[in-house]
Structures are given as C-alpha cells and as structure tokens.
Amino acid sequence: MSFDPIELSWLAPVPADFRDRLRALAIDAPKCGEELYQLANYRVDSTQAGLFNRALNRLRSGGADLAPLVPFRLNILSNATVDLIADALPVAAARHRVALSVTIAPFDQVFQQALDPDSELHRTPADAILLHLDHRWLGLTTPSPGSGDRIIGALSRLTELLDGLAGTVQTPLILQTVSTYPYPLFGSFDRCIAGSTRDVDALNKGIVSLAKERGHYILDVATLSETVGAVRFHDPVTWNLYKLPMASNVVPLFADWLGRLLGAIRGTSRKCLVLDLDNTLWGGVIGDDGLEGLRLGQGSGEGEAFLEVQRLALDLKRRGIILAICSKNEEATARSAFRDHPEMLLHERDISVFQANWLDKASNIEAIARALDIGVDALVLLDDNGAERAQIRAALPSVAVPEIGNEPAHYPAILTAAGYFEAVSFSNEDRIRAESYAANAFRAEVKAKARDLGDYLDSLEMTISHSAFDKVNRSRIAQLINKSNQFNLTSKRYSEPAVAAMESDSAKHTFQTRLSDRFGDFGLIAVMIAEARNDGSWDIDTWLMSCRVLGRKVEWSMLDALVAAAAVHDISHLTATYMPTAKNGMVSRHFDNLGFSRILAGKDGVVRYRLMLSDYAPQKLPFHRDE
C-alpha cells in the first residue's frame, strides 16, 4: 500500500447522504456552521465541492450563523485561469474552520488590477490578496545559460507589483513560491550553471525574503509541487487549452494547503496531538504481549516504523504542539513502556496528559481538552483502530481524526500531509509551550458520560460467530489461552495437546468466537470452556477475550451462545468463578454485569457465581450471527 497525498486519503470517504445533508441545511438552523465543517471533512470531488459552494453561498446570503467557521474574504490576482481553484477553495477552507468568500480579479491583468484603485480587485474589500503568479508571469519560460539576469528580472518585476499594491491597499498579501517544469536543458549540469532551469531555487529564496521583509504570508507552491511531483503538478494540455495553472487533480490538495494557511492566519490550527498506544506508538498490545513482546526500535522494519511515529511526535512537541496519550489499557502497564522500554523515544516528561483506562475514548478526549484548558477542536487523534476513529468522529466531530490506513511506515507522512498544525509564525513561546503544559503525564479526571453507544455499535456492522474447538484453530486457541492476561476470568493455561483433548471430550463444551466489522476482520478473539457437572449444571472453567474488541458486547453474545447450548442439554443453571490476578482487574465485575448472582466470596478475592437459566433474558445485540 502506498500513500499519495494527492488523494487526501486522511479524509473519510463521502457518505451517500452528502447532497441531502447540504440541501437540508436551513438558514435559521442552529449549528449549520458545525454541519458545514463536518461535510467539508470528507474527500469531496470537484462536483461535490461545487454543491458545497452553493449551499455555503445560500446560507451566507440568507444571514445564517456560520460559527464556528470564521469569515474570511480572499481576492485572487493571477496570470492564469484560477476559477477551478476558486471552486475548490471554500470546502477546503471550511475544513480548516474558515467561511471563505472568493473574488477573482480579471484574468491576466495583473498590473492593471494592482495599480488601478478602481479596479475589480480593489473594489471588493478583502482580508488578504493571493498573488497566484507562476513561472511564466515571472519570465522563467526560457533558460538563459550562463546569466543570472532572469532571476534579478523576476524579482524586480515582483517587487514592482508589491510596491504598486502597497501604494493602493494595506491588505496583507499571500505570495507563492514557484514551481517550474523539471525538464533540464543540459541535465544534471543545470545545477552547476547560472540561468538554468534550477535557478528557480534562487528565485524562491528571493520571494521568501520579500515576504519576510514586508510582512506578507507565503504559500509554498514549490514544495507542494515537489510533494506531488512536478511532472504531475504541471499539465501542459490544460494550460494550453484553458490556461489552468496546475493539473486539475492537484487542485484539491492545493486548495487544502491554502485553506490550512487561512486557518493558521485566523488561529484555527490544532494545538495538541492525542496518541493511541497499541499499534500506533508501538507494534503489539502491551496488555497481552508484555513489554518484551512489543515491536519497537531498530532491528525490525515494523519496529523502526513505530520509532518514526514517535520521532515525529517529538519533533512536533519541540515546535510547540502538546502531546497527550489516550489508550484503552491498564495505566500502570501503559506507563511501564514509557519508563522501562529501552527503545522508547517518548518519555512521560514529553506527555502533558496521560489517559490510560477502560472508559470510552470520547470521555477521555474531553478530559484531555479540559485538563489543558483548550477546546476539543484543538485536538488531533492518531489511532490505528478504525472503529475508535469512527466513534470519536460521531461523538466529537470537531476533533480531527485522520484515516491512516494500515501501514505504520506511512503514519508520519499522512499525519504531516494532513496539515493540522499549520503555522504562520514560530516564537519563543512556541518553543517552551509543551514544557509549560507538561505536568509530567498528568492523569485527568474523566467525567464519563452515559453515551448512547447503540447506534455506534450498529454502525460497525459486526458479524460474530461461535463454534466448538476444532483442529484448524487449535494452535490459535492455545495461544489465546496462554497469553491473555487482562480479559481472563480464571487465567487457567492449557497446552495445545490439552486443547486437542477437549475437542472430543463430551463433558467439555467449548466455544471459539470470531468477530469482523466493516473495518476488517479481527479473526478469533475469544474463547470459553464450560464443563458439565453431575448436578445438572455447567461450570465456566475458562473465559477470555482479546482487549481489542472490548466494549462491543461480544461477551453478551458469548453468554447467549452458552445459554442456548445449555438449554439444549436441559441444564438448569450455570456456575462461574472469578479468580483475581495482578492483571485481570478489569473483569472483576464481569459476571455481576452479566446478571450472575454471587454465591461465595473468598478472602483471596475469588468469587463464585450462579446463573439460573430460567432467569436469563437475552438482550438485543448489535451483531449479525454467522452460524
């Protein structure tokens, strides 16, 4: 799997009801800005961007309250046809919480428009003017080998334009760096000679100095072109036909780059990166695999990939982005990796808020924002689990949640490409911000809400199956039995031959459970063994589950399956045991939650339970049953 920024793949795909949701937006509706923001965060094509523009214009001219979107008026002055770019801009800007209106000055009249106070450009008041000028306007179409004149000429032409504009308006400008066709005149020797195609680098340095001197902003088109590849960025066909300044499939990414710049100017950039742990900062599940079992660090490709994720987080911290942890884990277990794993780049002192518990992530993310005294709209969540991402998007739509695919080596590129942390300045305060926030991995108090998870679980489209142990899955079953520590009621361990013996033991009733959802297949994730007793009951000898599927009612479905099987055998009741260990505290109330009654509680923490089948009422569960 490769990552191509041109596809904006960090955005979720457009849902089927996109058009209807735009149409349904009423001028007097509360929160229509919020809905626009959500709709802008899908991977829209140019036609959908057009639909978005119309809805935005309708709402704006009707006087709708567009908050939390911040208004911005942008005028564009260009030597090219920028209408298609203008089409793509409002949706891209809304993604970065800017309600944008765009005015385009007439095509290819750059100086006339700039210098005439009565021109279209100046008649429309603006918060910024984008100078969308390419190498052609700057006279860089033809190389002049051996002479540095054309760069001097280009910069003086640009300076003349800036002077002219400064004489007419005070509006801040956005200057663009320039991308040229990558085709050299000589070859590699172009780098060694003045006046060749490569002197565009000198031009860009000059443009950036001009912007700095005069307090203007920079839109780094040269880097954008480099990112997607200059051969792809330039499209001679549509330039020749229509004077489009870049290939049409690059326009959405260009628009997003400009949108995030406008967001940064308006102060809507994100401030804090919230990181999941298992399979996001390291490979593996620390609760099950243990510290030694984690894949992290030099020596394995996967381990190095996760190292790079941590390195990016550290780089971001050093430029003033706050780091927080949000993970479903035992806190002590999670922290042990930060304290004791020799390959960890991140340490507790790098983390401002450290949330590791079994409560829902949305409540934890709210707790992080509260503890830092910033809005949830200042947060970005990096999480490998598609279901968690979907839940956060549904519960807290203003948190930025990139889709990151399943290749950890691409995570840093994707997080960077999404442009959440765009800035227009870098100060000493930024440098020390993360330190001033750091309360050494502070644990924030969670006000867990009773969220209605019903719709969310339904939306996962889960398919579950329960079947008896068999030869094919024997080794996976034995592996689960021997390595599950957290969701494990009795922590009894059985070898593979012992598991094999159970397959034909008529007194043993065994269950292996598989789960999949619309994000993928979890495979075999839970195991249960019940043993027939002489008194007409079944005793639950073993019950364990992978923590990856917590909070999805899998245990209810397993109990359903067990009760149904017991009923077939005319069993009157079930008995069960909770045996505490250092690691299985999370299931100490498992049987209580499922409606079992306590019949005996020993001093050692061991609790015996009973469930009369006549008392059992099955629940409505969010699964398709696959028999």
Partner: protein
C-alpha cells in the same frame, strides 16, 4: 457501461455543475442549447468528466468536441481501453 448509461451520467454531472435540476441532454445537444454553458462552464465540464470517469482526453479530442454525443463517445472509447 453502455451509451445510454454514460449519457445519463454525463447529463446529471452537467446538471450538477450548472445547477440545473432535471437536466435532460441528448447526443445532439450543444453548449448553445443549455443555459449557463459558457466557455468557463465548458472547462469545468471537461475536467469533471475526466475525474468522474477516470479518463484523460487529448488536446485534439477536446478541441474537436462539437456536442454531448462527442463527449459521450470519447468517454466510451477511453473507458474501454
């Protein structure tokens, strides 16, 4: 995809771009027959069609396009390759 499907898809695409509900085009329809189909709209239509059908047209093909039927034929020919 047959001709009829392509024509339908092209119609709804152009309807979306020009903000005309229920636009019905025939193969003989030309830009002159449709409200708002000016030269800029034409650029939008060509670019959106390339995106929607995942094809690229050549300079010569775009320049010689005379009516909706030409566009549909081009898309059909390209999608078959």
């Amino acid at each position: 995809m047959n001709d009829q499907d392509t024509l339908k898809k092209v119609s709804s695409l152009i309807g979306d771009l020009l903000d005309l509900d229920e636009l019905t085009l025939t193969r003989e329809t030309t830009a002159r027959d449709v409200e708002g189909w000016d030269s800029l709209a034409h650029v939008r239509i060509v670019v959106a069609a390339e995106q929607a059908f995942g094809v690229r047209f050549s300079t010569g093909e775009i320049t010689s396009m005379k009516n909706v039927g030409d566009l549909v034929n081009l898309i059909e020919r390209r999608s078959r390759i």
